[in-house]
């Protein structure tokens, strides 16, 4: 029953995203392309934070590894889109293995600080190699290069549906993963790590696996962003891009499958709408965040699950 319901829910979300393309005005179609790519990032972050209970403050490095892996291999390696995409995702995967080995020796606040420091180092490395990365200014991936098998990814339609396909794959894969025995074990670690260990689970290995999967999803998002929007820049490796996924997931509902998407949509339109009224839009965003944290600490989907739909995956 629960399996059926969650499959129905996930299908409805995806159908709604397809429908939105046909009903939304052009500006919002563009916005939703971006939202879906960022939601992939949030989905990856949610696995580590929402399900495993590990708060990383350095996920921008995985997002940026995907982005730079993609962009640099196209501009300097002469690769086409698909191999470059693979390079981006691989780069993020390798980085997360390396960071995981070192950072997972720590827990709690120390883990936050260590991941933050790794991400800052990664950011500074990007700036240091400014000759290739063009630093803060970043670089463009030419429109002509951004096509797969003759399909121009820069048109609104192609961009929307490329973002949608990538989102759908990640969304469904993650929904399946968190309901698998592996996902249940990650939740066990979040709930009580010592108990999980004393049930015979190799907690260290499970946490590393969670971090690597999380890093891979972030890398997919980073590479997809560069592919669809044609820009690669160091600001995506900066600290606020590590904070964003945390906010999205907190707002949307940590440890829920739909929470990350809800969080990104909410935050995107909160800033979008408030900035049309006032320059102090970050103040509005800040107040909304504080209110949500006070009155719905489990986020939108988390609160729904608690109040009304207890089966929400």
């Amino acid at each position: 029953m629960v399996v059926f319901r969650s499959a129905a829910l996930h299908s409805c979300v995806l159908l709604a995203l397809v429908a939105l393309f046909f009903v939304l005005p052009a500006y919002h179609v563009g916005a939703f392309s971006r939202i879906m790519v960022l939601a992939i990032y949030a989905i990856g972050y949610n696995l580590l934070f929402g399900y495993t209970g590990l708060l990383s403050l350095g996920h921008a490095m995985f997002f940026a590894a995907g982005m730079y892996g993609f962009g640099l291999s196209m501009n300097f390696g002469g690769l086409t889109v698909l191999p470059a995409f693979a390079v981006g995702v691989t780069a993020a995967g390798l980085l997360s293995v390396a960071v995981g080995f070192l950072a997972l020796r720590t827990i709690g606040v120390a883990f936050m600080i260590v991941t933050l420091m790794f991400a800052q180092t990664f950011y500074l490395v990007i700036l240091y190699f400014g000759e290739y990365t063009r630093g803060d200014e970043g670089f463009i991936i030419q429109q002509a290069q951004r096509s797969i098998a003759g399909i121009d990814l820069t048109t609104e339609t192609a961009r929307y549906f490329t973002a949608f396909i990538l989102f759908a794959i990640c969304f469904l894969a993650m929904a399946r993963l968190v309901q698998s025995p592996f996902g249940k074990r990650l939740v066990a670690i979040r709930e009580n790590e010592e108990r999980a260990r004393m049930l015979g689970y190799d907690v260290g290995r499970l946490k590393l696996a969670a971090l690597v999967v999380s890093g891979l999803f972030s890398g997919v998002a980073g590479a997809a962003y560069a592919m669809l929007f044609g820009y690669v820049g160091a600001s995506f490796a900066a600290v606020h891009y590590s904070i964003f996924p945390l906010l999205w997931v907190l707002l949307g509902g940590a440890g829920t499958t739909v929470g990350p998407l809800i969080g990104v949509i909410f935050m995107f339109y909160l800033i979008d709408v408030s900035s049309s009224f006032t320059n102090a839009y970050m103040l509005v965003a800040g107040i909304a965040l504080v209110l949500l944290t006070l009155f719905a600490p489990q986020g939108i989907a988390g609160t729904l699950r608690k109040r009304a739909v207890s089966w929400l995956p």
Binding site: P181, K184, R185, N192, R195, R197, L199, Y201
Partner: protein, 243 residues
Amino acid sequence: MAAVSILETKGLTKIYGGLQANTDINFSLRRNAITALIGPNGAGKSTFVGMVSGRTKPTNGSVFFEGQDISRLPAHKRIQLGMAYTFQITSIFPGLTVEDNVALAAGRKLAHDKTAHAQKTAAVLDKIGLGDRADQVASDLSYGHQRVLEIAMGLAQDPKLFILDEPTQGLAEGEVDAFVTLMRTMAKETTILLIEHNMRVVTETADHVAVLDQGRLLASGTVDEIHANAAVQAAYLGTTANA
């Protein structure tokens, strides 16, 4: 030898700073029996089972489980060999349902086989009397039920050796009776190492008793032998010798 004893320790020693929590403990645990480990507060009981289960690293000495030297294995590997452990302070997954708690315990061995996994989970819940509370969130259970749940999580693993660290602590009299009954049924299927303060539970369940005092193994034997042991009476039982 291996047939009679499931667990052995040789020269097991733990030193915290200047304090000798455990000194040179040579201990042998009989298979298919309930052995109670008793001793006054601070005698080193928890340190001892911590070293057996792998949660505490010994300063010296070794631990053998079914003849295999497990001294260097991390805790989760020892559990995988067939130990189960319940904590002195109740340790469950508070945010998950009772069923999920037990399913996680059963799932290490059975997760690949959905039917067997579900059957095992249901069987354990039934056996322990939590079947009608399967969908309840564990943190909403009463303290007594939480303790029972933790024991259910141990049983779900089908352990060869079940270590219970003060399982009746904080339980009401009636709950202790139910626990004693449960222990007796469990003893038919597994070996139990029971750390216990409640002498009534010890005399009613244990086949053997080992006494720790000031980090040393003072005596071990049947309940009657321990009762008769002058050194034990002096060190620990004192006026409760007739309990």
